[in-house]
Symmetry: C2
């Protein structure tokens, strides 16, 4: 499909640009702590699709934000996201040996190094946001820091991971699974869209439209993720599949069935797009992204 | 000694005030993620002496900074410091079962929870600094965030922990041990003094005097710590002692011997105090702190 090809190209182009930014922003491996610096790069350059960076850049583009700025914020978010993957993969968490077909960081290095890699990537994310190079206006920078800290913290991503670990014996209903996912993956996806709005000094109305878009997008993304775990091809997905069912974990798919889950994901993608109508044609990339996340096969 | 009694009282009073601030700032355990929130409190309310908070508050006092502000920054630093202790104690790191006589967080809860507690406390530290309640001027807040991110990150505390883990097979000389400690404990101690200066909008000259004080203080503190591990009473220190020697780890004591190490610590404490002379009588607490850290028995 033409539209799908177009959005995939745009995602790839942004991924390349954000990886160049990350290469400049990640410290070069040298000195006594070089093992840590090398492992940070291993964890970040992991073949990810960089969907959160794409969301930042596409949202910031709506307001004509300079790309050097939006790419720095995109890189910060990717540092934070990469840290969360490294810690989630640890033996005491999800105990995954592979991510996108490559050994996870604790497999490639060791557990202690992987824990420190995550810790250092979180600090680096805030260091990038706080730099003058990210935005001349300190109000903008502190707004970014505050929003990321909230999205990442105990009532955000980390809280979601806590619920996910406990989910095995919590017997979550639909409300519980929604809350889990809104925290675990939704909070950082919402921040990605919000960050574009903050960089663009958007008014409250525009900001809340973009947040509403991101909320629906994040949920659609997660349902699609559950569907991939349920019926995906491990070679394409790049990690083990069927883990949720094996562990008896409540997911959107286990609660709704695959067919209804797919319908729900499509409905959420449409709803996400509907929040963009005030932006008109300029929001074409964000519209495309919403369709893309529910039809991806990885 | 009168002076030592005076400084201990001042440290205790600040510890009580910062614990009240922490109690307000840490989320209340509720909701599906309550296990995380409860464990965060367990990790932070650990009977620590709160020396870094004391350093923040005493430095900020030199510039007449409002206590509600300096106590918030002190609480943020203590969140960050507590996170580092929780992660350092993990089985794949130092593998400690006790801290100040109580089970470490992964012993009291479990490893996954302890990792998430550390992650969430780091986010919370930045969230506290970014809040308007910490300072009305966003320049001040972003300056605090930038300095903490740097002190905590790959060329700061986490880099130091990486070197510490590798130290067993790196055969560090005095330069290596100094670098390790300047990163692992020195960076956050320097930030604590710097934070007071930032809150007080100190000029560059004053700021660098306080940083010079903190650098010497941090090194004196660490040498005293090595001495405690070498010859301390485990019941007073509150954790196992003699671990460094057992692991054949290079420390200031193993490289210099206990007697010279004690002389070096005293010399550094005197040198730290000498950087404060421009502040006159007002710096009496910081002077007392320098003496205190080399004569403590815990």
């Amino acid at each position: 499909m033409g539209n799908s090809h177009f959005i995939e190209q745009a995602i790839t182009a942004t991924a390349e640009a954000v990886e160049k930014a990350l290469d400049r922003l990640l410290p070069q491996p040298e000195g006594l702590e070089s093992r840590l610096l090398e492992a940070m790069r291993y964890a970040v350059f992991n073949g990810g699709k960089r969907l959160r960076p794409f969301l930042v850049v596409a949202t910031a583009d709506l307001f004509g934000v300079d790309k050097t700025r939006s790419l720095r914020v995109a890189a910060a978010i990717e540092c934070l996201h990469s840290y969360s993957l490294v810690h989630d993969d640890l033996p005491s968490m999800d105990n995954d040996d592979l991510r996108r077909g490559k050994p996870t960081t604790h497999k490639q290095y060791d557990e202690a190094t992987a824990i420190l890699v995550g810790d250092a990537l979180q600090s680096l994310a805030f260091e990038i946001l706080a730099s003058e190079k990210t935005h001349a206006d300190p109000h903008v920078r502190i707004d970014l820091v505050r929003a990321l800290a909230k999205a990442a913290g105990p009532h955000g991503m980390v809280g979601g991971q806590m619920i996910d670990i406990e989910a095995d014996h919590m017997d979550l209903d639909m409300g519980g699974v929604s809350r889990l996912q809104q925290l675990k993956t939704g909070a950082l996806i919402c921040f990605s869209a919000e960050a574009g709005a903050i960089l663009g000094k958007a008014d409250d109305h525009r900001r809340s439209q973009l947040l509403a878009y991101a909320r629906d997008l994040g949920l659609a993304f997660q349902i699609a993720d559950d569907l991939l775990d349920h019926q995906g091809d491990p070679d394409v997905v790049g990690k083990a599949v069927g883990k949720d069912a094996e562990q008896g974990k409540a997911t959107f798919v286990s609660l709704m069935g695959a067919e209804r889950a797919q319908q729900q994901a499509n409905m959420l993608a449409d709803q996400a797009v509907s929040h963009l109508k005030d932006f008109g044609e300029r929001a074409i990339l964000l519209q495309g992204l919403a369709k893309f996340v529910v039809h991806r096969d990885f």
